[in-house]
Symmetry: C2
């Protein structure tokens, strides 16, 4: 079982908005069992879910739903259930990972502004999927590495005026980033470099971080460093998420089996 001390230190992160159990599970599998053939055994999953304050019945319902929706497959090996991402679940997870685990953007990286043709074939949603942030109608900004729509006017420049940074910040998720920033700051102080966590605690901590981060970053494209605001809550969250995930690397799931299975 994780220590009461650990539960206290991660309380703020647990209380950030509604945490749907099935969604928490997707975060967990995506973080710890994304590899081909990666499995989370039933007792390990139960231990992690319990440590995340999820009741056994709620965990069973969520698992059932994820199997029905084709995200998770479960097989029995002897008396132990082996849960793993389905091929579809793994594809989705791999698809989202570059955005979730991206390094914080660097101010020196390339950026582009594109103006798309006026024939209406490029809508803002498609552009967001490609990684572009809307600036004005028909005008989008993004990292220089992504391929702009055919026949668009591709531009770049030098100085970025501050009004542009202000205008293109993702504003609707701003309050959520402010709340996450506060929780991550507390966590960063409570779990400084060198803090020893058990494998179970590490799995729970990473799941909480990845889950709360994922809920926000997947709602908008990542701005290239030069166009982002380094003082913004989203950028500050990004830095802390990166640091905390590096400070507490993925645990060996077999260690959870040994220490927590019988709890």
């Amino acid at each position: 079982m994780p220590s009461e001390n650990f539960a206290e230190k991660t309380a703020a992160l647990r209380n950030l908005g509604p945490q749907r159990v099935w969604s928490l599970m997707i975060s967990l599998f995506g973080d710890l069992a994304q590899g081909s053939g990666d499995v989370i055994e039933g007792p390990v999953l139960s231990a992690i879910m319990a440590a995340l304050d999820v009741k056994p019945e709620a965990a069973r319902v969520a698992l059932h739903r994820l199997r029905n929706d084709g995200w998770i497959t479960s097989t029995k090996v002897g008396r132990i259930s082996h849960h793993m991402l389905s091929s579809k679940g793994r594809d989705e997870s791999i698809g989202a990972s570059p955005r979730i685990y991206a390094d914080p953007p660097d101010a020196g990286e390339g950026w582009q502004v594109v103006i798309v043709p006026g024939n209406g074939t490029e809508d803002a949603e498609q552009m967001a999927v490609a990684g572009f942030t809307p600036v004005l109608p028909r005008v989008f900004a993004g990292p220089s590495g992504i391929i702009p729509p055919a026949d668009s006017l591709v531009l770049t420049g030098g100085n970025v005026p501050s009004w542009l940074r202000d205008e293109i910040q993702p504003s609707d998720v701003q309050p959520d980033y402010i709340a996450l920033q506060a929780s991550l700051s507390d966590l960063d102080r409570a779990l400084p470099k060198g803090t020893a966590l058990s494998a179970l605690e590490t799995a729970v901590l990473r799941c909480l971080i990845v889950h709360n981060w994922r809920r926000l970053v997947l709602k908008h494209p990542l701005l290239p460093g030069a166009l982002g605001d380094t003082r913004s809550p989203s950028h500050q969250c990004h830095i802390m998420v990166s640091e905390l995930l590096a400070r507490f690397p993925r645990p060996d799931l077999r260690k959870i089996t040994l220490t927590d299975r019988t709890a």
Copy 2:
């Protein structure tokens, strides 16, 4: 007096839309007497106006109006009136000359796209005066040599898609450019390189060309070569205006005095 043949060859240009006499006079002074201290003597002005099919009474009224509006000053030297641009008239004329006498834009010259701040301090009219063509709300294009408004996002790029060229062509003056193009093409064939014109004929020809060109080009900024359409009537007009004005350089006004004063 100009030859009947000359009058016939320039007829199309004379008939392009309403030619207000005072406006023709501004074109004439701007083309032939823009320099400090440049004077057009009364008899020379009368000879040119007569060759432009302007009745003596209409010329007198126009001159009176231009004096009242502070464009022209007239002084008597002996029995001869000396007409010249006022200091204001000369300033206006000098201000418009770079646009009127600009070389046709070259596809290799630099261009910029600027996005202005959204605080509404930059309107399209101010931007046009500075030399920028509107592309989209808050987005303008222009030659790279002009200074963009403070705090704008200044961009440039490589390939220019054809929809951009189509969208930013000056469309409201398009019919007038088509008509001018036809007249200039006729003129270009009727007055090939090597054609000998008298000083009076040259003055009249230049006045007609400059006047009809000026009426259109001063209505919109000049697009940089890479953003313009070389097949467009405005670009084709520009090439012919440049060639014809080079083919028939400014005449010596004293020669008009000698040959036409007594006509």
